[in-house]
């Protein structure tokens, strides 16, 4: 099963980068993660918490008219790694259908070889965020 094209593109980009480029690009993603839209700020409780991360991470998948999902995150600026990883997933999967999202393999990021930049332990957060995006996708399918 192939990845959604945008996510595949990001994976391929990272695969060809040096360690320093990976760090720089991750920081770029972290800084690009949009702020949580105002409409969710008061209702963080309806968002999904990701307890696998060492930092508080909240996300919500918003169903669009065409059936695609758009994800919003709330992750503190003191945690640029988790922000960067979430921004990669958001960039790679925003607009995808719930069906496309749930078929993304949990180890899709292996070819990115992020371990050399941020160490394997920290990729737990990546898996955690993806797992919760999938839960949001499953929920969207039943709505």
């Amino acid at each position: 099963m192939s990845l959604p094209s945008k996510l595949q593109e990001i994976v391929d980009d990272f695969a060809g980068m040096s360690r320093d480029e990976k760090i720089e690009t991750l920081i770029g993603y972290a800084e690009s993660l949009p702020e949580l839209p105002e409409r969710y700020k008061e209702e963080r409780s309806q968002m999904e918490a990701v307890p696998e991360c060492m930092t508080p991470v909240f996300l919500i998948g918003e169903k669009q008219a065409d059936g695609g999902l758009v994800f919003h995150f709330d992750i503190p600026p003191q945690s640029p790694t988790v922000r960067g990883l979430a921004a990669i997933l958001a960039t790679g999967l925003n607009g995808c259908t719930p069906e496309e999202i749930i078929t993304v393999p949990a180890d899709f990021y292996t070819p990115m070889n992020l371990e050399e930049a941020i160490s394997g332990q920290r990729l737990n957060g990546f898996r955690g965020v993806l797992a919760h995006m999938k839960q949001a996708a499953v929920k969207a399918m039943s709505e």
């Binding site: 920081i27 060492m54 945690s79 797992a131 999938k134």
Partner: protein
Amino acid sequence: MPYAHPEYLVDTEWVAQHLDDPNVRIIESDEDPLLYPIGHIQNSVQVDWFSTLQHPLRRDFLTKEQFEEVASKLGITNDTTVVFYGDKSNWFACYALWLFQYYGHNNVKIMNGGRTKWEQEKRPLVKDVPSFARTTYSAKEADKSIRAFRDDVFKQLETKKPLVDVRSLKEYTGELLHMPNYPQEGATRGGHIPGAVSIPWAQATNEADATFKTPEELRALYEGKNIKADGEIIAYCRIGERSSLTWFVLKYLLGYPTVKNYDGSWTEWGNLVDAPIEK
């Protein structure tokens, strides 16, 4: 009542006054490794608990020789005052300090409040990575009096000596292993080492500015759970990082003479065949 060994702490102002001091090396050690490249204290160097300090192959720290190489590359001499700071209440800064002590570097300090306090005070952060002339560092033999291995923990159980579990309460009760769709990485069983008391590491710090609590507060916290100076204490968490902060607090802020960090922690104990577990 002062801290038992206040010389192991410096404040942010002290660090600001010693940025160019050739006898001082400032080291940032974070949970999040991207914080240093985004901005760090001028003339500080980065040490990552995993990519810098762990053995590349085995589950262990660097060997003595590998540690000497790291210290030499960072321009640290045996006389350098090494000051650690980091994110999340200095949790990984304490881990790095513990490892430096393991190889006999005793002239170490924590910048109280870490990155959080430095940023709150709007002190400058820079992106320039400094380089220092290489030194020839000579480490001592590993100081096993501050590190517990699993056999030490079994002995601790037999002799009913105190164990402190510093993980979150849900990890202590084993509840976190039952997360739907996401088996918690690291351990096949949940719970805690029998008899261990739960004192989550973060209770030793102030949430507002990431500094350590006062000596009175710390004493009440630990003595209240029967973790006292005359006990030979072993602290553990999941992989030994959070418990290194508790180790620092008990050993230097409260002055307990015998405290060990069990870095095998739950990812070892929760996988160990035949090891007793309590829930």
